[in-house]
Amino acid sequence: MVKFPGHDERSAAIEPLFHQYYPRLCEFAYRYLNDEALAEDVVQDVFVLLCERSGLLPETDTARKNYLYAVVRNACFNRLRHLKVVHRHQDEQLREQPFSPAEVLETIISTEMLAAMHAAVASLPEGCAAVLRKSYVEGLSNTEIAESLKISIHTVKSQKQRALSLLRERLGPGFVFLLFFIR
C-alpha cells in the first residue's frame, strides 16, 4: 500500500497548526540558531516527526503552543549540540546562557509580541493596506495613488488616515517606522 504523506488524517489535523505557528516557531528557533535556513529545517523536522507519531496532541491552544515551543527549543538544543563538534569553544556558552528556563520563557514572550505586531500590520483592511503600501513603500503621491487604484483623492486621504490610526491603536508609538514592512 502506498501512503501519500500530506493526505492522511493526522497530517490533515496538523496542517492548520503548522500554518498558524510556523513563522513564529522559525523566528523562535532563529534566536538560537542564527540562521534562517537552519531554523526552518529544524521546525520542519519537528513537524515531520509530529506527523509520523501516533500520540495525541494537547487539547487546548495554550497547551499546544507550549508544547510546540518546548519541542522546537529541544530540537534547537540538539542541533546546536550536534554542531558543537565544529565549534567546540562555544560549549560553555551552550550549556550556560540560552536554554535556561527563564531565558526560554523570555524568548517565547518576545516572539509572541513580534507575532502579534506582525499580525496587526498584516490584518489591515485591504484598501488601507494598498494605499499605505503605495505611499510608504513605493513612495507615490496621493494623486498617483488615486490614479493607480482608480479611486478619488479623497478616498486615498481617508484610507491613509484610517490605516495610520489603526496602526497607532494596534502598535503604539513608533508605528510609523513599521510601515517599511507592509507588503
Binding site: F18, A39, V46, I109, M113, F177
Partner: protein, 401 residues
C-alpha cells in the same frame, strides 16, 4: 525528539499581551499590577527595549514575513516521503543481509521492481522569486546494472547484494562500496553505474579506488579486478581517487582516450561531445589521446579534441567544485552555466529574444541551493530575466513589464 518537560501555562501569552498594551499606552492600572506580578522589572524592560529598537524590530518583522508556511508544508511532505522510503528500504536491507549470511545469493528482483525516480517531487512552489515554481537541487541517486542485466535503483538508501562471483555490494548513504574478499573464480563480471540528470553518486571499487560521479554520467567497471590491469570506462564527469598499486596500473577509458594512472586524484569531464578535459590534482597520469600522448603534472589540465591534445595550467577549484558540493563559475559563459544547471536540476533551457549567451560571469553557490536561489544570484550578476515553469527555464534579456 526529547519530550518537553516545561509547561508555562498562560504565562508567556498573557505577559506578551500585557507588555504590548503597556507599549501602546492602553494598559489599565489593574493590568499593570498583574504584569508587574507576572514578570520582574529588568525582564520587562529588556522586552520593551527590544520593540523600541526600530531597526532591529524591522529586521525581525521582515524575517518573520519570510518564513512562508505553504512552501514549508510542501517541504515537510517532501521530507516525509524521504523518511518513509528510508524506513522501508532498511527492512529490505536486513532481508538481503540475512540472505547473504546463509549463503544464498541475494537477487535484486525485489529492488528492480521499484518505481523510477519521480522528477516531479523536486518541483516545489515558489513565492520568493516570483517564478511559477522552484526546482530543488539534485540528490544522491543512480541506477546500477548488475552482471545479470538486472537493474537496481539507488537513492542513498542502505542495502547489501551479492554478485555471482561472491563480490559483495553495499550501498550506504549515497555511496556504493564493493568488497571482493569473499569472491572467487576468474570470470570478470561488469557492473554499470548510471547517474541520471539531477543526481550524483559515489562508488568505492574493490581496490579502494573512490569515484564521484556527477549528474548525467556513467561508469562501467569490473566488480573485481582479476587481470594485470585495472580498467574502467567513463561517460560524463567523474572525480577519481585511485588507490596506488604499482603492480596493477589503473586506466580510465573515456570517449576514445585512455587516461593511465598510478596512485592519484584527478577529474575527468567529458560532457561535451568530442572534448575531454582531464585535470590532475595530485600524483601522475598520462593521457593517451587521439592526437598523441602527454604526461600531466599536478595542477595541469589536458584537453583532448579531435584536432589536438593541449596541456595548460588549470583552475583546480573550478575542476573539483562540483565534487565538493558547489558550483564555481569563473569567466564562464551563460551557455556553459546553463549547461551545468540543466544537468543538476534536471531542467531544459530556452532562450527568448536576443540573449548574449557568450556573456561571461563568475561566482560560486552551493549545489544544495534551489534553482530559484541560483537564478536570483545570476539575475543580480547578469541582469538577465528568468522564468521557471515546471521543468522549463526561460532566459530572456528584456526586463518584464
Amino acid at each position: 525528539m526529547t519530550e518537553p518537560t516545561t509547561d508555562w501555562g498562560e504565562l508567556p501569552y498573557r505577559t506578551a499581551a500585557l507588555l504590548l498594551k503597556q507599549h501602546q499606552g492602553t494598559i489599565t492600572a489593574g493590568e499593570q499590577q498583574e504584569l508587574d506580578h507576572l514578570m520582574d522589572a529588568p525582564a520587562r524592560q529588556r522586552l520593551l527595549a527590544e520593540i523600541n529598537d526600530f531597526p532591529a524590530l524591522e529586521a525581525r518583522l521582515n524575517r518573520l514575513g519570510r518564513f512562508n508556511s505553504p512552501a514549508a508544508w510542501q517541504q515537510v511532505n517532501h521530507k516525509r516521503i524521504h523518511t518513509s522510503n528510508k524506513r522501508s528500504l532498511r527492512q529490505r536491507f536486513y532481508w538481503a543481509a540475512a540472505a547473504a549470511l546463509t549463503g544464498i545469493a541475494a537477487t535484486a528482483w525485489f529492488l528492480s521492481s521499484r518505481q523510477p525516480v519521480n522528477n516531479l517531487a523536486r518541483l516545489v512552489p515558489d513565492d520568493r522569486f516570483g517564478y511559477q515554481n522552484d526546482v530543488l537541487p539534485g540528490t544522491s541517486r543512480a541506477t546500477l546494472t548488475l552482471s545479470n542485466g538486472k537493474t537496481v535503483q539507488l537513492q542513498g538508501d542502505d542495502f547489501l547484494l551479492e554478485e555471482k562471483d561472491g563480490t559483495r555490494l553495499r550501498s550506504d548513504s549515497g555511496a556504493l562500496q564493493y568488497n571482493a574478499l569473499t569472491a572467487s573464480g576468474s570470470e570478470t563480471l561488469y557492473n554499470t553505474l548510471r547517474v541520471p540528470l539531477a543526481g550524483t553518486y559515489r562508488i568505492v571499487l574493490p581496490d579502494g579506488t573512490a569515484v564521484w560521479l556527477n549528474a548525467a554520467s556513467e561508469l562501467r567497471f569490473p566488480v573485481r579486478f582479476t587481470g594485470s590491469q585495472r580498467i574502467v570506462s567513463l561517460r560524463g564527469e567523474g572525480y577519481f581517487e585511485v588507490a596506488p598499486d604499482a603492480q596493477k596500473p589503473f586506466s580510465v577509458q573515456v570517449a576514445g582516450d585512455t587516461i593511465n594512472v598510478l596512485g592519484t586524484a584527478f577529474n575527468i569531464s567529458a560532457y561535451q561531445h568530442g572534448r575531454t578535459a582531464t585535470t590532475l590534482v595530485s600524483g601522475k597520469v598520462t593521457v593517451a589521446a587521439r592526437k598523441g600522448s602527454k604526461a600531466l603534472q599536478p595542477g595541469q589540465q589536458a584537453v583532448s579534441t579531435a584536432a589536438a591534445l593541449q596541456v595548460s595550467p588549470a583552475d583546480m577549484e573550478k575542476a573539483t567544485a562540483w565534487k565538493n558540493g558547489y558550483f564555481y563559475f569563473s569567466n564562464e559563459s551563460i551557455a556553459e552555466v546553463m549547461e551545468q544547471l540543466t544537468r543538476w536540476y534536471g531542467i531544459t533551457v530556452a532562450y527568448e529574444g536576443a540573449v548574449d549567451t557568450r556573456m561571461r560571469i563568475g561566482g560560486s553557490i552551493s549545489r544544495e541551493a534551489s534553482l530559484g536561489e541560483v537564478l536570483e544570484q545570476l539575475r543580480l550578476l547578469s541582469g538577465l530575466q528568468f522564468n521557471i515553469s515546471g521543468s522549463e527555464l526561460t532566459v530572456s534579456a528584456a526586463r518584464k513589464q
